[in-house]
């Protein structure tokens, strides 16, 4: 008798887990399925749940239309430049922040948190006005500069806690052994932090690859990949948007699966801890 409730609990647990997994996977399946479906399987009152007649028509259309390469290349260039620039800007600064006094560190982090609170639409507005004056609209440079706005605080968060976890004693030991500040940085600190920097960099790459709001404000004619998807959403191009969305998602899924080993929640919480 006493084992019954426990058994019941276990059954509920299994049902719950299966249900959650289903809800997580089903949309992704639908996306890929739609991109391979014939119109009469999708555009009816009762769409089929399984793929009966796979077709490559939409994929061929998307790949041969010539609208894919431009946005793809722009997204790739912008994301990569954002990642490199963010690392160059943030890594040295977060090292210093992690080594300052508690008070300065707390202030700096609170300022970063505040910048994250301000609505993106509010920052994008003056930025687009200024970029119009500087002729930076529709350029990769402009978009990289804009993407950095969101990514710099984000990366600083991760890296301040990465550098903070490297004990100061190690550097002091290096000083005693006759290292200069530069040498201690190069030989001791950077090798220990390199994994954290790499993970943070990949995150930044992903965020920039996915970014939509700044791209929407700052692009008039040249599109990034998310904007291309949005364009087809507005036009109601059911199949094109499935194919484009799949292309947008593929690199992301690969990187996330590779990174899962390193996905640690303290990267999300950063230097703000309970």
């Amino acid at each position: 008798m006493s084992r019954n409730p426990r058994k019941l609990g276990k059954i509920f647990l299994v049902i719950g887990i299966v249900l959650v997994c289903f809800c997580m996977i089903a949309p992704l399946y639908l996306l890929v399925k739609v991109s391979f479906s014939t119109p009469w399987e999708v555009n009816t009152a009762h769409p089929t749940l399984l793929l009966h007649q796979p077709t490559l028509k939409h994929w061929k259309q998307v790949l041969s239309s010539g609208n894919l390469f431009g946005p793809f290349w722009k997204s790739l260039v912008v994301a990569t430049c954002t990642m490199v620039l963010a690392t160059v800007l943030v890594a040295p600064a977060s090292y210093v922040i992690s080594r300052t006094s508690r008070k300065i560190r707390a202030t700096y982090i609170l300022v970063l948190f505040f910048t994250k609170m301000f609505p993106v639409v509010g920052i994008a507005l003056p930025i687009s006005v200024v970029f119009l004056k500087w002729n930076l609209l529709d350029t990769n440079t402009g978009l990289v500069l804009a993407h950095l706005i969101g990514q710099v605080p984000f990366m600083a968060w991760i890296l301040v806690s990465t550098f903070g976890s490297i004990p100061r004693d190690l550097e002091e030991a290096a000083f005693i052994d006759g290292c200069t500040k530069m040498m201690a940085l190069r030989k001791v600190v950077i090798p220990l932090a390199v994994q954290g920097i790499a993970v943070a960099g990949l995150y930044v790459w992903l965020n920039s690859w996915n970014e939509f709001t700044y791209a929407l404000y700052l692009s008039l004619t040249t599109k990034t990949l998310p904007l291309e998807v949005y364009y087809y959403v507005q036009r109601g191009g059911t199949f094109q948007m499935a194919a484009y969305a799949t292309i947008l998602a593929i690199p992301v899924i690969i990187i996330t699966f590779v990174m899962q080993k390193y996905l640690r929640s303290d990267y999300l919480s950063g230097a703000v801890k309970g």
């Binding site: 009816t44 040295p92 609505p119 639409v121 710099v152 996915n210 947008l248 996905l263």
Partner: protein, 285 residues
């Protein structure tokens, strides 16, 4: 001063580029945006005209209501769901690794893509209607994104799909940091599992929960992409409304509405820290 410079020249050199960038490209635009919201054309002084105009527009008032509703509902819903999943993932069972990988999968999916998926699921001839139809729950298809309460829930669900992994990860880390000995002590004292959950797990999890709520709330208030894709301008949110005004060329109004959004976020954060949390769970180290 000179001495300080000589001693810390390297540190200062390292920190200056990022500081300049943040001042120039984030802090300055924020202030420009706020100032812009108090300016009106042909007038050098500061006025409240834009705000008067803004609060006389029914669409804007509606957008405030929608934003608050979606924020509160999605916060509660996501937090409970994420906590349940985190508790389940803490148990050891066969295939836990796979379940973890599946649950964390949407984390990497671009918001844009999750919006597209939601369009397929919640469309009038979409897959949710089809499943409900096959289960004989409905006979005529339901129009999910036409407006009203239903569409707000669609946005909550689409948002949940996207952010659940992050929340699960945060709460799971919190759960795993609770030492096993505490549970053993509770067991020896004869506490039931329900009692243990409410008196041991939840209080010890409070820092993680507080952090999750603050992070999520800020993002939920600013929700932009999903409404933009799913419902367009038919159901306004403060952020999408601000974009509408921007694309119509009313820059000052757009600035005013994003400033209103900032005030909403600051008020919520202040309220949460002072009234609900009272500085218990949130420390800056």
């Amino acid at each position: 001063m000179i001495k300080c410079l000589r001693k810390y020249w390297l540190e200062i050199l390292l920190i200056i580029p990022m500081t300049i960038y943040i001042l120039g490209f984030t802090i300055l635009p924020i202030f420009q945006s706020i100032v812009m919201s108090f300016r009106s054309e042909g007038n050098m002084g500061l006025t409240m005209n834009n705000y008067h105009m803004l609060f006389n527009k029914p669409q804007f008032l509606e957008s405030i209501g929608n934003t608050m509703f979606v924020t509160v509902v999605s916060l509660c819903y996501q937090l409970v769901l994420a906590l349940l999943i985190a508790l389940a993932l803490k148990q050891s069972f066969k295939g836990r690794g796979i379940v973890r990988a599946i649950v964390l999968m949407p984390m990497g999916i671009p918001t844009m893509v999750s919006g597209v998926m939601a369009l397929y699921v919640f469309g009038t001839s979409g897959y949710l209607n089809e499943i409900l139809f096959r289960l004989h729950l409905v006979s005529t298809p339901i129009n999910w994104t036409v407006g009203g309460m239903r569409s707000l829930f669609v946005i909550v669900l689409a948002d949940t799909w996207k952010v659940l992994p992050t929340l699960v990860l945060l709460l799971l880390a919190g759960l795993e940091s609770i030492p096993e000995t505490v549970y053993e002590a509770a067991k020896i004292d004869g506490a039931s599992s329900v009692l243990t959950f409410f008196h041991v797990t939840l209080p010890l999890l409070k820092p993680s929960i507080t952090m999750s709520i603050l992070f999520r709330a800020v993002d939920a208030f600013r929700i932009f992409e999903l409404p933009q894709i799913l419902v367009g301008s038919s159901i306004p949110f403060v952020a999408t409304y601000s974009y509408e005004e921007y694309s119509a060329g009313n820059l000052a109004i757009s600035a005013a509405s994003s400033t209103v959004l900032l005030v909403m976020i600051l008020l919520f954060t202040w309220f949460y820290m002072k009234v609900i949390d009272r500085g218990e769970g949130f420390n800056v180290t």
